[in-house]
Symmetry: C2
Subunit: 248 residues, 2 copies
């Protein structure tokens, strides 16, 4: 069982079906599987929800529904409520990045919950009272109110990242060693002479410039081969040009 | 001028007006102000865009439009393209958290761009070729395709967080010092005796348990006052009870 399966995403009285669907998609992107909805509204547009869930229709269909928040989180140890406002119970808020390791530690052995309020009114104080932690997503003073699915996305992203599952795509080609690099540089040096690009006094200065340019990132074996091939072709063109001159 | 104003969000041929509006809202949440759209589609539902932009209608109206990506990023030093796929030009991708300090360093003095592709087809290879960096947002192997506004949200959130503008709400009340804590604990000790909650042998053991419970987080001055008041009230009730017993 994946540790992220122990994290329940709880939406309290969400208004827009589209947001519920977008939440499912964000959950799917972050390996979260457990969705609970508290007191679903009869006006919810479930067609919209299915449309915006995209590849996460399974999450949407597997949702649990509860009459109250207390019931939705009854089996959870850590219960974290999200809030954009401050004051009252809402001081000492954790940013989600700081909260993620706390959440994962409990989720190793227990169900935990992340609770998201209504689009228009958020969570009420009596709902925040059920929470062990308050989460505040970093946002501009200009506008602190996040779209519901954006809030789930940021929290889910922080949990997924902290779980350490993801590996960014890495360069698969082998890194060039010094011997290959030097063969490449000596071909370029020869090219600069044969094409009469620079005169002797400037040659070594130019070479240092080229070494700087090509050392800013790691050169791979195919990189060196491209660069060396290009220089060799230029050398061949130079030799043809010189032959042509001799025939004149 | 805010450093984040130097970061241009570029959407290439976005399909859904709703997504464009949601992107504006996500930008507003993260203090980003510069939106460019490449080759806007005549079919875009701009009413939907305005609706989902919420408080970010200004960003939406201030958008710039360009015929090609090359024109949209012409003035930018760093140009980062987002991609869910790997392979071809797409190896050596940066997760947005690793990219954020690179972006901010350049954005101190130059315009930079974050480029997001079409909802269905992403960025084409000839568009990625214009990019100095490829960004890959951590996501589940199960489903790597993010909603357009979710992708902007995660990247914007990482840039906003790295810019270090945000401060989570902190406890405003003063922290209790040892003298106040000890006055509180001695009142509780007295309460345990007077309410006959525990007998002498267990008293110090109970006190250690209470000290552990109340030391898990920082106690503030008002916290100590609530706890001390509660114990004092209990002491008062005990004394009334004993008086009543004496009168029997």
């Amino acid at each position: 069982m994946n540790i992220l399966d122990n994290i329940r995403i709880v939406l309290v009285e969400p208004i827009h079906g589209g947001n519920i669907g977008s939440v499912c998609r964000a959950m799917n992107n972050n390996d979260l599987t457990d969705l609970a909805i508290v007191n679903p509204r009869p006006t919810t547009d479930w067609d919209d929800a299915r449309k915006l869930a995209c590849n996460a229709k399974e999450q949407l269909d597997a949702r649990k529904e509860y009459a109250t928040l207390a019931e939705a989180v009854a089996g959870c140890t850590v219960v974290a409520g999200t809030s954009a406002r401050t004051g009252f119970y809402r001081d000492t808020a954790h940013p989600p990045r700081e909260f993620a390791p706390i959440a994962l530690e409990s989720a190793t052995n227990h169900k935990i919950a992340l609770v998201f309020g209504r689009e228009d009114k958020g969570l009420f104080n009596e709902e925040l009272a059920l929470c062990t932690h308050i989460l505040q997503i970093p946002s501009s003073e200009r506008y602190t109110s996040l779209n519901l699915s954006h809030a789930v996305m940021v929290c889910g992203y922080e949990l997924f990242t902290a779980a350490g599952i993801f590996q960014a795509s890495e360069e698969k080609a082998d890194e060039a060693d010094s011997a290959l690099r030097e063969r490449m540089f000596s071909t370029w040096r020869e090219m600069m002479i044969e094409t009469e690009f620079t005169h002797d006094q400037k040659l070594e200065h130019m070479m240092m410039g080229l070494r700087r340019i090509f050392s800013r990132g790691k050169l791979t074996v195919p990189d060196c081969k491209i660069l060396m091939g290009l220089a060799k072709q230029s050398l061949w063109v130079s030799s043809q040009w010189k032959k042509a001159q001799n025939h004149e």
